[in-house]
């Protein structure tokens, strides 16, 4: 991270005083004991307490805080629940965190027009929770949905296990209220489907806090399916498992989820959760939705496809308990891996057809780097999550793991994929951006940031490689 600005640090008392004067008493935190709680997000390897934390309750209070920071030229780090795995909400010592977690109202539930309007501090899961009695749900379902907020979901364009069928956040977002860096409030989109004009909301979604702070959102909601049921298919090779995924997708059956776990992961899960998974090279969990008859029909098709590929096992769940047993291992995979040691969780995407090759190459890289790796991921859309095991107490091991991780992400780009499918760039993948994008490709993205944030105060040192963004930041400092 860049060295904190000594000028800003020396003005800290004035900055805190200005924020306190303009905001409710409990909205500003500056005591080092308390700001420590905000020193990192879920990428805990990097930590740094901020200068202050502001926790507003309304859009107007967010705007006030933004205006003050802009006038006093203080960097702002937007924060939701802090579950980012890419260091997206990592503070700097000279920044003010503006957290939206207290903006927690459900403003409007309109099932006739199929949308809800929420303040963005609501958690992902609570949106669906509120909708349950109406027979609707909100589709994007990141695994962190119990904790993560709609604000963070929008900033990261988060997805989940069910996005194969329902898409990610950008496909389910209709409108947003955004506080710009100057404190001005703009409305993008709305409850209508697809307004004309430039798609600024599409640009905002996934912008990782680089363009503004989102305080309200209009979300598309969907009727709940009648039911859902998973099947588990075991294969004795990664290639056949990959082939099975491609054949299911081509068959016309569109499952809501296709999850993949490799042997390393399976052994860890078995030891931890005793899920009763078969001992084999790869397991797929495929979930389909509909009425009981519709589900039977889709499962019959999937069985036909799988049978042609000689699976080690094809396990169908016939009731809720059996369904839960199938998901149990997958859901506990990250915890199970944690018992084997420390790990870093990667997030690259590859074209589905490249899955077998990529898995083979990851195995080879694992031997080269001398570190074990487990693969558990959303196979339907090629979004891989290799987990690299290392020993945090062993000097040099983390660096080795990071180097290995970088090699995997480069591999993803080389086979036609990308650096991140859902976790975002943050600081974690910042310096790899030049692998995926050439100079002009990054320049135009930075020029777009310039339009929204001419002083480059929003979420500093994220997304864009420091070296590449240096001239932009220097220019911005003169504005």
């Amino acid at each position: 991270m860049p060295t904190p600005d000594a000028g800003i640090l020396s003005r800290a008392p004035a900055i805190i005083a200005a924020l306190r004067a303009a905001l409710p008493q409990d909205a500003v935190i500056w005591d080092p004991e308390e700001t420590r709680a905000y020193e990192c997000d879920a990428l805990t390897t990097y930590r740094c307490p901020p200068l202050a934390v502001v926790l507003p309750r309304t859009t107007e209070e967010v705007a006030t805080a933004m205006r003050i920071c802009h006038e006093m030229r203080v960097p702002v780090v937007p924060r939701g629940a802090g579950t980012s795995l890419a260091g997206g909400a990592l503070p700097t010592a000279d920044c003010v965190i503006i957290g939206t977690m207290r903006l927690r109202e459900m403003l409007e539930i309109d099932t006739a027009n199929r949308f809800v309007r929420v303040q963005t501090g609501v958690t992902n899961l609570s949106v669906s929770g509120e909708l349950e009695s109406h027979g609707f749900f909100y589709a994007p379902d990141p695994s962190s949905q119990l904790a993560c907020t709609i604000a963070g979901n929008i900033a990261m364009n988060s997805g989940g296990a069910h996005c194969l069928k329902y898409g990610v956040t950008t496909n389910n977002l209709l409108g947003a209220t955004v506080v710009l860096t100057t404190g001005e409030v703009v409305e993008l989109g709305g409850a209508e489907m697809g307004p004309m004009g430039l798609d600024l909301m599409g640009l905002l979604c996934g912008s990782e806090g680089q363009l503004g702070i989102v305080t309200e959102a209009v979300l598309r909601i969907l009727p709940r399916p009648e039911g859902a049921r998973p099947v588990l298919i075991g294969f004795d090779g990664a290639e056949v498992a990959g082939e099975c995924v491609a054949r299911i997708i081509r068959s016309g059956v569109l499952p809501v989820a296709i999850e993949y776990m490799d042997d390393v992961c399976l052994r860890a899960v078995e030891a931890f959760a005793h899920a009763g998974y078969p001992d084999c090279a790869a397991v797929l969990i495929v979930e389909v939705e509909g009425s009981p008859e519709e589900i039977d029909l889709q499962i019959a098709r999937i069985r036909e496809i799988a049978d042609a590929l000689n699976p080690v096992e094809f396990r169908e769940s016939r009731n809720a308990d059996e369904a839960m047993a199938i998901w149990k291992g997958r859901k506990s995979a990250f915890g199970a891996m944690g018992r084997l040691g420390d790990y870093i969780c990667l997030d690259g995407t590859v074209p589905v057809g490249q899955l077998p090759y990529t898995l083979k190459m990851i195995g080879e890289l694992s031997r080269q780097h001398g570190l074990e790796v487990a693969n558990v991921f959303h196979a339907g859309d090629g979004n891989m999550h290799p987990l690299i095991l290392f020993n945090a107490n062993k000097p040099g091991d983390l660096e080795k793991a990071e180097a290995f991780g970088n090699d995997i992400l480069r591999l993803c780009v080389d086979v036609g994929g990308c650096l991140t499918g859902e976790h975002g760039v943050g600081i974690e993948k910042r310096d790899l951006m030049t692998k995926q994008y050439d100079g002009p490709d990054l320049d135009i993205q930075m020029a777009v940031k310039d339009v929204f944030d001419p002083r480059w105060l929003l979420n500093p040192a994220k997304v864009f490689p420091l070296e590449v963004s240096q001239p932009w930041r220097e220019e911005a400092a003169t504005r």
């Binding site: 006739a112 027009n113 703009v186 059956v253 777009v448």
Partner: protein, 377 residues
């Protein structure tokens, strides 16, 4: 490079590099360019500058049915692509319309024009718009820079999503040179339920009820007193969904159309056959579905006719009324067929949004030479 072009009529660069050199040249001399795909959709007659054809930037780069991805150059005719997808049992789920009948054109719609216009038909209701299926783009901006964004994979959050901006910018930010799109299985099993003799109000009530079910209704259009619902599904799934919907909506006797009739009907509905062969102004209006009956009623009082799509979320209004009158009734109104009306085709933006849009245009096309003023004339 530019000197090589004259063998073809007008400006028709045959490579990205050629296009880049051409635009860089025009940028320095400030001469505007009018981008022409098939010329079947957007009315660009009033856009200043020499026509730039994408016809020589054509061809499919890759199509992987097992990955559901297609990469093509912009000038590729859309019907060629749709035929190719159909041979693999796939299609673009967002169902782009053929606007030739409505706009009185006879070119060949291109895939570049489709993306530039974010063209999305009745199935948008279920499947999302073109922009939701766009995976990546290559384009040349107004400075002649060759740029790329996104890629060819389904999930990608690497950096800012410029594809969303380009899609629907009608060629005002850059000239597309390659588009990567998601394709989806096109299932043959489908039927249509028609509820005759209903008012717009009753139609939207039927739509709201149907769209609150998990039966994946993939079309909800109201035209000439009939509410049409399209139902899809695999084999017996289709019958199940149809019967459940019929059971739910018992207010009216329903006509049920088979798969063949369904395909014909929805092509007509998609292409707005009911508004073809006329010169009257045609407006595309976005509302909340529940507001559609009142808004459409107020529009009809001007003397024209309307139909509804997207379960009431989209109103097509054809008939008299000045831009001021139409926009006085409803905000999100775009003039798709001018019919003699002058003034901006696109609805005005709120001032803060307009300022951001202008800032972005300045970034992509500082000299304002690409489809100059198209989106604000």
């Amino acid at each position: 490079m530019i000197a090589d072009i004259p063998s073809r009529a007008g400006l028709a660069p045959a490579s990205e590099a050629e296009l880049g050199a051409l635009i860089a040249d025009r940028r320095s001399s400030g001469q505007p360019l009018r981008i022409a795909g098939g010329g079947t959709r957007t009315q660009t007659d009033h856009v200043p500058g020499e026509a730039l054809s994408t016809a020589a930037l054509s061809g499919v780069v890759t199509y992987e049915p097992g990955e559901m991805t297609l990469i093509a150059r912009p000038g590729t005719p859309l019907d060629e692509i749709e035929t190719m997808l159909a041979a693999e049992g796939q299609a673009f789920a967002f169902e782009p319309a053929d606007m030739r009948g409505v706009l009185g054109r006879n070119g060949a719609p291109t895939i570049g024009g489709m993306v530039a216009a974010n063209a999305s038909g009745p199935r948008r209701l279920l499947a999302g718009a073109c922009r939701d299926h766009l995976l990546g783009v290559r384009f040349v901006d107004g400075q002649g820079r060759v740029l790329k964004n996104g890629g060819r994979v389904m999930k990608n959050v690497t950096g800012l999503d410029l594809g969303k901006l380009i899609c629907g910018a009608h060629g005002t930010l850059g000239v597309l040179t390659e588009v990567a799109l998601k394709t989806l299985p096109y299932l043959p099993d489908r039927c249509t339920l028609g509820f005759h003799g209903v008012t717009a109000h009753e139609a939207v009530a039927i739509f709201s009820a149907a769209l609150a079910t998990p039966f994946e209704v993939s079309g909800a259009v109201f035209r000439d007193g009939t509410a049409w619902l399209r139902v899809e599904g695999l084999g017996p799934q289709l019958g199940y969904r149809r019967d459940r919907l019929l059971g739910l909506i018992q207010t009216r006797e329903a006509e049920v159309l088979d798969a063949t009739a369904t395909v014909t009907l929805w092509r007509e509905l998609r292409d707005l056959a009911h508004f073809a062969g006329s010169d009257a102004p045609l407006w595309r209006i976005l509302v909340k579905p529940s507001e559609a009956p009142a808004v459409a009623g107020a529009l009809a009082a001007l003397g024209g006719v309307f139909s509804l799509d997207w379960g009431g979320g989209l109103i097509w209004y054809c008939g008299p009324g000045t831009a001021q009158e139409v926009r006085g009734i409803t905000r999100h109104a775009t003039l798709v067929r001018r019919g003699g009306l002058t003034g901006p085709a696109f609805p005005p933006e709120a001032s803060a949004v307009a300022r951001l849009s202008a800032g972005l245009r300045q970034v992509f096309d500082p000299a304002g030479i690409l489809n100059s003023g198209l989106m604000d004339q």
